[in-house]
């Protein structure tokens, strides 16, 4: 979909610059003239929202880092210093903390969108896999960031997650000592986590660059899941059509963001994290941030340590294999009634696992968590391959234009009659 740029700068300076470094041409062909399918719905605005959230996290994070002290004795009080003394420190911190929540909310919506509309299928496999990598980096970044305030939940989280690696046979314990820089999570751990929390977002920026590049090679998928056949009929220009839609969606998103920051800023924070970390005691009820709860439930559902850790990582890694698990030639769930049904079952399973992850594990709940864990993997390993060959799909439209334009033509005709 991307070809040589047709961009011609208007000014002499622009032409001088462009013939030496065609930067404006790249921007123009990527975000102005770039053709987007004409039938995109609001599910396609989350890419822009995610880009915004990434920039917001970096800007607020760099500001926080100007006042934060990454040391076991001072980190906790430096957060209080940010909240009480630093000008607008409370605002920047709440933006960063709640920003992480909204970043993940947008990311999950974006991913479920991909699963619903079959956006991971050929020719977009690499685009999808880069997305899974970005998600993994995001989870790592958020985990590292959560350790920084050095509250008791920060400490417990750091301990539990780093100990996942101790499940590796033979070298596991040595790896954890290496990660901690000691025999337990402590000052050296906090220091290096800060260094890495600062680094990873910029690696995410790089990965997002590849993601967008891959996107602009294959073009976007769309709600009907048929490829663009005739750019004239099937697409519209990115600017103004997609730009305006993105700006509108982002504005609504910002209202939600502002509401979180100004009305319920502590809603996603664990009260236990207002206590300073204590290496000699663990809070009564250890839970991760909401966005990691489903994976935590899967970890706890499995009674064996090594298998639990393997299942935890497999539950994310399996996403990278979707293009080969779902072989149905029809992309969009709009034309796949059975797949659509199981998709919603899958969404309910994920939410259910999330809820279970937040609860104290009683025997009954653990049983349900096992059941849902089987369901989680079953969706990918059984339902997807099975439906690929057995499902009776609805007829797909011949082209994007055929999917949306006739309806409009009928409507105008009806209005004129």
């Amino acid at each position: 979909m991307s070809g040589p740029s047709t961009y011609v700068p208007k000014s002499a300076i622009g032409r001088w610059f462009e013939s030496r470094l065609p930067l404006m041409g790249l921007v123009h062909s990527s975000f102005v003239a770039y053709p987007v399918p004409r039938n995109l719905n609001y599910m396609w605005t989350f890419g822009a929202i995610l880009s915004f959230m990434l920039v917001a996290q970096i800007v607020t994070g760099v500001v926080l880092a100007m006042h934060y002290v990454p040391s076991a004795t001072e980190a906790f009080s430096s957060i209080n210093h940010i909240m009480r003394d630093v000008n607008y420190g409370w605002l920047v911190r709440y933006m960063h903390t709640n920003g992480a929540t909204l970043f993940f909310l947008a990311c999950y919506t974006h991913m479920f969108r991909g699963i619903y509309y079959g956006s991971f299928k050929a020719p977009r496999e690499l685009l999808w896999i880069i997305g899974v990598v970005i998600y993994f980096l995001m989870a790592a970044t958020a985990f590292l960031g959560y350790v920084l305030p050095w509250g008791s939940m920060s400490f417990a989280g750091a301990t539990v997650i780093t100990n996942l690696l101790s499940a590796i046979p033979l070298v596991g314990t040595a790896i954890t000592y290496w990660l901690w820089g000691g025999y337990a999570v402590g000052d050296p751990t906090l220091n290096r986590f800060f260094s890495l929390h600062y680094l990873l977002p910029f690696i995410i920026v790089g990965a997002v660059g590849l993601h967008v590049w891959a996107l602009h090679v294959t073009g976007q998928n769309n709600p009907d899941g048929v490829e663009v056949k005739n750019a004239e009929r099937d697409t519209v220009a990115f600017t103004p059509y997609a730009t305006i839609k993105d700006v509108f969606a982002l504005s609504v998103w910002l209202i939600i963001y502002a509401w979180l920051i100004f009305y319920i800023p502590n809603y996603v924070l664990d009260a236990d994290n207002s206590n300073i970390a204590n290496p000699l005691a663990t809070p009564a009820h250890v839970v991760p941030e909401w966005y990691l709860l489903p994976f935590y439930a899967i970890l706890r559902a499995i009674p064996n340590k090594l298998m639990g850790v393997i299942a935890l990582f497999a539950s994310i890694a399996i996403l990278a294999f979707l293009p080969w698990l779902d072989r149905s030639p029809v992309k969009s769930a709009k034309y796949r009634p059975t797949y659509r049904f199981f998709f919603w079952v899958f969404v309910v399973i994920c939410i259910g696992l999330g809820w279970l992850g937040s609860q104290e594990p009683t025997e009954g709940l653990t049983l349900i968590a096992r059941f849902l864990t089987v369901g989680y993997f079953g969706f990918f390993l059984v339902i997807m391959p099975l439906l690929s060959f057995t499902e009776k799909t609805k007829p797909i439209p011949a082209s994007i234009a055929d999917a949306v334009l006739p309806k409009k033509a009928d409507a105008t005709a009806a209005a004129q009659a």
């Binding site: 901690w180 000691g182 050296p188 000699l280 663990t282 250890v286 009674p303 340590k305 639990g308």
Partner: protein, 173 residues
Amino acid sequence: MASAATVEAPNRRDFLFLTAGAVGAVGVAAVVWPLVDQMNPDASTLALASTEVDIGAIPEGQIVTVKWRGGPVFIRHRTKKEIEDAENVPLGELRDPQTDQSRVKKREWLIVIGVCTHLGCVPLGQEGKYEGWLCPCHGSIYDTSGRIRQGPAPLNLAVPEYAFLTDTRVKIG
């Protein structure tokens, strides 16, 4: 390519190429290793390898938590019943079979590292089915010898190296 005539004896150029490559690989390893090893526990952390504790003031039935190498160590002054419970468990019932005798130096004193062998949380004393320890994180249950009895943890609470300096003083590490 495949014919025997084209296979030449290795010449000086091949030799130089291979040795230069080998030296280069050693050089890269010599730079990468410090970058990796710097993350291991440093000299100041290793220097904190032992700690001495006065246990004379710990009454029977109490557990005291002391800090050793940055983490908790439990010193438990066990009651008669707790000792008997621990000693009377048939080894066949245990996931990580160890006798109580092999885990203590004096019957009344149990000294174990207070780190759950599942994912490292600090278990709560005098709780759980066996009134040994209960881990709040994922529900592992330990007995009064610190042995794993239920839940996801694979191993018994570890016994650190320690020595009784006097009847009321122990050195851990």
